[in-house]
Symmetry: C5
Subunit: 278 residues, 5 copies
């Protein structure tokens, strides 16, 4: 039996295990969920789909009567409520920080199609109809890959031990990351070493920057979506400088582009502010 043939057999054996995570997500999708999504749980679970979209309000919206715009927030909240057993939605105001957008949404669900159903309904509201979508990235959460208890115990302890102790975050940032073919062709051990070098200088910032990672290779034109919250933008700037200074940075073909910065606000307030109805 040739070497390739053996490999062919062995990958088939591995198939059922490899997609177990995906099947779990699919099962969740099929199960009825009459209760609202549990926010605390969905924000830490693997196999959760994250959808990041940015929007610009079309100028036509402001030719609508103010009275009509004043009803926009309630209409949007009704859509959020309708889908609350499947998705949770976070909203951010980006006007004044970004040329490409006025607001930015982060939607989580256990099933990508449930997210689409929510966004289709959102876009059918008067406010949603007045938006131009300027970016839309999708990703999925996974269990830790490199800095695990087994592979890198000290750093794992550092990550686990660090707790955010700053003020309540007022700012959120979304930063897409894409790596080049050289990175992906490194051995697992080499990539682990680079990620360790990357992780070390960031531990110091875990006290004032919260982080969350989504995987996107193949399901969108990026490899990762990194999401941050902070009350201290200078600390965040220092964190990103530290990351720029490690060798892993040489493998980036995309880091930002766009970097999206917004203030953390209720969805209601975001719609009201952009409707001139606050």
């Amino acid at each position: 039996m040739s070497k390739i043939a053996t490999a062919v057999v062995s990958v088939f054996l591995a198939a059922s295990a490899a997609s177990a995570l995906g099947q779990q997500a699919a099962m969740d999708a099929k199960m009825p969920m009459p209760a609202p999504v549990d926010r605390a749980k969905i924000l830490v679970a693997p196999g959760v789909y994250g959808n990041f979209s940015t929007y610009r309000v079309r100028p036509e919206y402001y030719r609508m009567a103010l009275a009509e715009r004043k009803g926009a927030a309630a209409e949007v909240l009704a859509v959020v409520d309708k889908h609350k057993d499947k998705v949770i939605v976070d909203a951010y105001l980006t006007r004044g920080f970004e040329a490409q957008s006025d607001l930015f949404l982060r939607v989580h669900s256990y099933d990508m199609a449930a997210t689409q159903a929510f966004l289709v309904d959102f876009r059918a509201t008067r406010f949603g109809m007045s938006l131009e979508v300027t970016e839309n990235l999708v990703g999925v959460t996974k269990a830790l890959n490199y800095i695990t208890k087994d592979k890198s115990p000290d750093l794992n302890a550092g990550l686990t031990g660090a707790t955010y102790s700053g003020e309540a975050p007022r700012y959120a940032l979304m930063v897409p990351v894409k790596k080049n073919a050289e990175w992906w062709n490194l051995s697992d051990a080499q990539r682990l070493k680079e990620i360790e070098t990357h992780t070390l200088p960031t531990l110091v910032n875990l006290v004032n920057v919260k982080r969350k990672l989504y995987h996107s290779t193949g399901i969108d034109d990026t490899d990762f979506i990194t999401y941050f919250e902070t009350a201290d933008l200078v600390a965040f700037n220092n964190l990103m400088l530290a990351l720029a200074k490690v060798p892993e940075n040489k493998y980036h073909v995309r880091w930002g582009s766009p970097t999206v910065l917004g203030t953390i606000q209720s969805f209601e307030n975001v719609v009201k502010v952009l409707s001139g109805a606050n």
Copy 2:
């Protein structure tokens, strides 16, 4: 007789054989086809033209009365019916996943001009008139090139033996691929070796990801259009990570850009959803 002159003669002798496939397609195009296109057959035949187009609904569409938008789906289906002896059409909803599009069409025919005739009629419907085309890629199917029974028997058996055994796919992805001049200047044997290395880690995913390949070099600004269907986006993400980790990836100048992700739906439903008429 100089070496070049001999080569000139021999390429002329090869000419009729080389374009046999194309002539077959041309013949098919000339033959009357009163019966609907055989879907099962056209999806596996070589010499079939695949046309991938994405569209954004213009905001003006939503200023049309809902009553009028409710008639849009029937009008579109009538166009599909008119062309059913020449083309088959698959539709996908991308709103909520993509910034650049709301829907995406895949059209197959044995004659590229028949596809154009259908799309011209589609664009003349009220719904079609309200669309902005945001991407349009064309390709053609060909017989297997590298992993054939002769050149790579074990992997060919692996490819042939693998059957999709997941749930009915709910998602489709279209991913254009373009390779650099270094790739095309490798010898056939070198490219075969790289494709073998590429194929091996993908066999495991054939149980939960369906694939189809279209060739585009010269007829569009890409070399290949790769099309996938799956019910398990995490499995798809893992497949694409495996492909990122083989040396072939170093020859990519385009892999995605755009990656288009949509849910698989009937054309009728896609039009209804985007018309606010569902």
Copy 3:
């Protein structure tokens, strides 16, 4: 007398000869041409200006009454007729193949300003006013540069001996080509060698692909505009693959971008189809 000084003198002596071709074109431009342009002659002459433009029909056009759109073709043909002693016009339908355009025009004249005069009048018709220009490239034909009787007799004989013997072409493709500074800094002999390697595998395709070359260095942001006609898109795809596999490909900085594919149609029919008046 220094080496540079001598060179300065010698380039001055060469000046009148070097621009002979241009002066011929200028002379033609000044001569009255009351008779229609001789199509057979202008398509093979050097010193002829080729103008390639692509257009998208603005959505406003379809809000015009159909009766008015029905008159569009006649108005366009009157403009063609007005300029028929200076320019010839070929039209192609690209809707359904290209996201960036619905139609594509190729205009030839002995004088670039005559082409401009025609296009200005075309854009002043109701149909022309409804178009958005999405690409416009200009070039000029020149005598063969590399594969001449003197420099490469066998390949020249191959080029001369090859005759298109396929069906009447139904498709046209326009592919811009730009080469990098390394290419242009090769010696003439090196470039000749690369072009020979490029030409050899293409001879086989001359039976089913027609080709025409325009030079653009400096007068537009490309070095060449290559134009093709074929009835067999698979043969064309094979031709382009053969060209991808020669070392010359490594010097390309642009090859396509855009590749424009259209069906060959009368200008009248193109306008009628896009006006919904066919």
Copy 4:
């Protein structure tokens, strides 16, 4: 205790010091500021947020009655006045210099959210509603990093000793700067050396060009925003040529793109000029 574990501990110890600057800014943000922002102070303080935005006036604005446009400046000034205890605003006219913009704003505050509040209100004026945002960059001021008294005393003295002695500046320029991974992976000593080489030839221009630096790594898609004022554009051109000629330039991946040039004017005048009301 492993080397990594030690490092983990030590970075935690460093955490409170590292973000001191950020905490200072946060404190400032929380303190009530009933008095107008002190312009002289905010323009030299570290921890100040700079926001640079460019705008194009939409063509619809000019279809508004002139009488209505004449009121635009007063409405804008009222918004500036409302926020004068939190932000200061500088305005520049770019029409005639830039394709992408007609005006450009620089806003300073001790709290990024205060800047957003101002810009949201500005965009809600009739003039603001008629603008398209074409660029928006954010950064923060920091204490000198390289050319300090300690690290580079002579150059620091040169920087400190230089005083602007030209005419009152009439022009402002905003130039974003982004450096590649090789730059950030240099040692601190190497980067200091490059910055010294960079600084030396610029001292001569401090007599006729004013400069200010903002840090943006991670909070926007650039590393720095450099801002200049001058009355002498030829001197500025010479300064930038001097900077092009030092090795640091080889590490730039962005230097400009866009370079924004405007005339320094009162906000009132910028609005009046663009409203046809001057």
Copy 5:
């Protein structure tokens, strides 16, 4: 005294001389100029600002009554006349040659702000209000830098001795040029050598191509704006091919992008042609 300290002193001493050119321009700007700008003089003087802008006519313009469009040229000429003591304006028709523009303006003045004042008034005319600015580049003229009498006497004599002897130019071309950091980090002697190699093959074309150079480093996103006039586009194509073939070409990061080609026409005629009023 350290080496750096000495350098700091010496650059300060050089400061007043270095910006002499700029000060001259500034002085000119302050002097009253009641008489029209002397065209012959401004086109050869150093310290003159050149402003290159391209425009597309918005489709709305053609919905204006023809009678109103007929008055557009007179209104534009009145603005030219109003500013004739400060600026001179050249206009070119690009419709039919360029996708991005219909016309192109070149404005010269001794003071950049005077150019802005003219362009602001131009944009306030009915015709100007109907334009979209698609490119805007600014530069300044300087004395010869490399091929001077001292540094390169033979080539300088060649440049001085060459006289344009072709027909009156009918075409103008604007070609931006940007060089990479490697170029700017060459020594002066190395750059001189490359420019000599660049200049030699171009002398032959001075009989049928006119040239003019503007410097833009730092004041716009290009290093140079090169402007050409010719009656012979084939000669121009040959000139640009000769420049492509010298090593200097390897240092280009921008050469064109856009290349703008227009016919030389009176401003009045350009406005009339684009207004359908000729």
